[in-house]
């Protein structure tokens, strides 16, 4: 009986402690709701369609009916009409669209005459999930087209042919490497450095440290470089393991891939430092880091390309370092692009790193309150 009393006292004490930490409490209550809200906002009804290129080499009325059906299905958004198959494929190669739909010459006539014909979908194999999605949706659209049009033109058959660029098929290990590297290079350094300054505050060492004539930028850059040195070793080890032990395929130049990864690592450290500079204690910093990671996971192209999310989610996505990293990494790893081809993403990552560091210097107060 007395033991139960002690146990009860212990439980009451812990509940009290939880309730008296308002920030954690907000986190506990708000986090699940915020995540759900974000998820619905990004992936709910208002989803965007897959950007594709159409190459209509036929030009006849039946081909335009097919294109119309394709557009009204809601799965696709035609971002360009290319004059030749080569031009269409090039747009897919350049990443302007996830697929090209090529309607061959004589398509309309074949349908009207009741002959069998075909359409060609050129898929971007470097986005395995999307190409699968495009493929299935294209087949569905063509089938419903056949059903609807057969009443008018009699029986005919359209074969959906599948071609790929950067293919033919990307193994799932290769395809998920960018995701795994993204998580490792983002979450690990960010949460590690996020607690660095608040730990000094909690252990009181900050009070002695800021009695020396250091400026905030020295404290920020000092932590940044120190954590970079340690986490880069971690990154190199992960990379070596992936490429040399697991045999992950790298189509582009390895140095380019390493550069992009390094940039994400530095950017994550910068962001973590900013979190650290504004947090009052370690718990708060840790929670903030995790909280920040959630939109990164949802809106950066982690599960699904950002272009397919709702417009609001896309806007958020374009602010996230992980978005630029995933794009650049995939392009280099799976498409074989070089660093110059991802110059935009590289610049964005570098600018964000600088912005985070500058913000951290600005908000860091050399005080103990």
């Amino acid at each position: 009986m007395r033991r139960l009393g002690a146990l009860a006292a212990l439980i009451v004490k812990d509940v009290k402690q939880l309730l008296r930490d308002p920030r954690s409490l907000v986190m506990i209550l708000l986090m699940p709701m915020a995540v759900m809200a974000m998820f619905v906002a990004g992936y709910g009804e208002e989803r965007s369609s897959i950007p594709i290129v159409v190459v209509n080499l036929d030009g006849g009325p039946v081909s335009w009916r097919l294109i119309e059906l394709l557009r009204s299905s809601g799965d696709f958004r035609v971002v360009a009409y290319a004059p030749t198959a080569e031009a269409g494929v090039e747009l897919v190669r350049r990443g302007a669209a996830y697929a090209a739909l090529v309607i061959p010459p004589g398509f309309s006539e074949s349908v009207v005459r009741g002959r069998s014909t075909r359409v060609v979908t050129v898929l971007d194999a470097s986005y395995a999930t999307v190409s699968e999605l495009v493929w299935q949706a294209a087949v569905v659209v063509v089938q419903s087209f056949m059903k609807a049009a057969s009443e008018e033109y009699g029986t005919f058959y359209i074969d959906v042919e599948r071609q790929t660029v950067y293919g033919p098929k990307v193994s799932s290990v290769d395809s998920f490497t960018s995701t795994i590297m993204g998580v490792l290079l983002h979450l690990v350094p960010m949460s590690l450095i996020a607690v660095s300054i608040s730990r000094e505050r909690e252990r009181k060492t900050f009070e002695q440290l800021i009695m020396t004539p250091l400026s905030s930028w020295q404290i920020v850059v000092g932590k940044f470089v120190a954590y970079a040195l340690v986490t880069i070793a971690d990154m190199v080890a992960t990379f070596g393991f992936a490429v040399y032990v697991l045999g992950v395929r790298v189509a582009g130049p390895l140095p380019a891939l390493v550069t992009v990864s390094l940039l994400l690592l530095l950017c994550s450290l910068g962001l973590g430092l900013l979190i650290s500079a504004v947090s009052r204690n370690q718990l708060q910093a840790y929670q903030a880091a995790i909280f920040f990671f959630i939109p990164s996971m949802l809106f950066s192209g982690f599960f699904m390309p950002v272009e397919m999310l709702s417009p609001a989610a896309q806007a958020v996505g374009r602010l996230l370092p992980l978005y630029y990293f995933l794009r650049a990494f995939r392009s280099i790893q799976l498409r074989g692009w070089g660093l110059q081809d991802v110059a935009g993403e590289v610049t964005a990552l570098a600018l964000e790193t600088a912005a985070f560091l500058a913000a951290a210097v600005r908000v860091l107060r050399l005080r103990v309150e």
Partner: protein, 307 residues
Amino acid sequence: MLAIEAVNLTKVFGGFRAVDGVTLRVEEGVIFGLLGPNGAGKTTTIRMILGLLKPTSGYVRVYGIDVERDRRSVLRITGYMPQHFSLYEDLTVEENMRLYASLYGLGRGDAEERIRELMDEFMLRDFRGRLAGKLSGGTKQRLALAVALLHRPRLLVVDEPTAGVDPPLRRYFWGKFRELKERGVTILVTTHYMDEAENCDRIALMSRGRVAAEGSPLEIKRLAYGGDIIELVTAGDPRPALDGLAASVLEFEGDGSYSRVRLLVPDASEALVPLTRELEGRGVRVVRAYQVPLSLEEAFIRLTSRG
């Protein structure tokens, strides 16, 4: 010159006035004691003086430099030993000292020399390779003081340096403080030990965020009691003979033949002899006359327990 000029410092936490209009003027080269019960606001005042907390109102100048405007110049000439051990517990004694020597911008040779000196002065040589977190309380305090002195500060601020320190080391610390003072260093110190406070040139007694009294230890005691206390042993009752003299009776004890009285006088050293003579002249035989040593502790309690 004033080493510290803190004017009208106020710090409000939430709605609570931890420090409420404190003004301190500390002359260069003195040992200035900041006393007061727990929670009086000593640490908060110190932190505002050092720019570690932003005052809600008021300002601070250290050697004429405005702390808010040019804190870094103040830091170069100020050493600080916080109330709680604040060095890196996962670094060794030597690593901590080297780190802070670099942070204070000491050159290589100078740092070496200074670290060697301070290790000898504070008996740290045997512990140089030990993690600071694994040191005993007294050794931690020695290390903290050594680090605070690395850059030869002109102002040393020490917050309860002798808490948890054994009596020989306490004495050693105060010896150091006096040595530093002789070299012209100004020292602002807080303590709860009244015997230590007697060593201060000046004292400010804080209570509930305000300065309740300020002055030399002697002045503080006079303020608390309203003057000095002398004790007389006389034949017979001297009280009627005290009429018209600048002395009031605090205590009286008599057995008919001899009496013992405690008198309150403005200044014992001035009053003792004339008073005795006057009483003798009035026919009271004074057997013994002496000044009663007042305790600062008693004065402290009297001054701080007042509403």
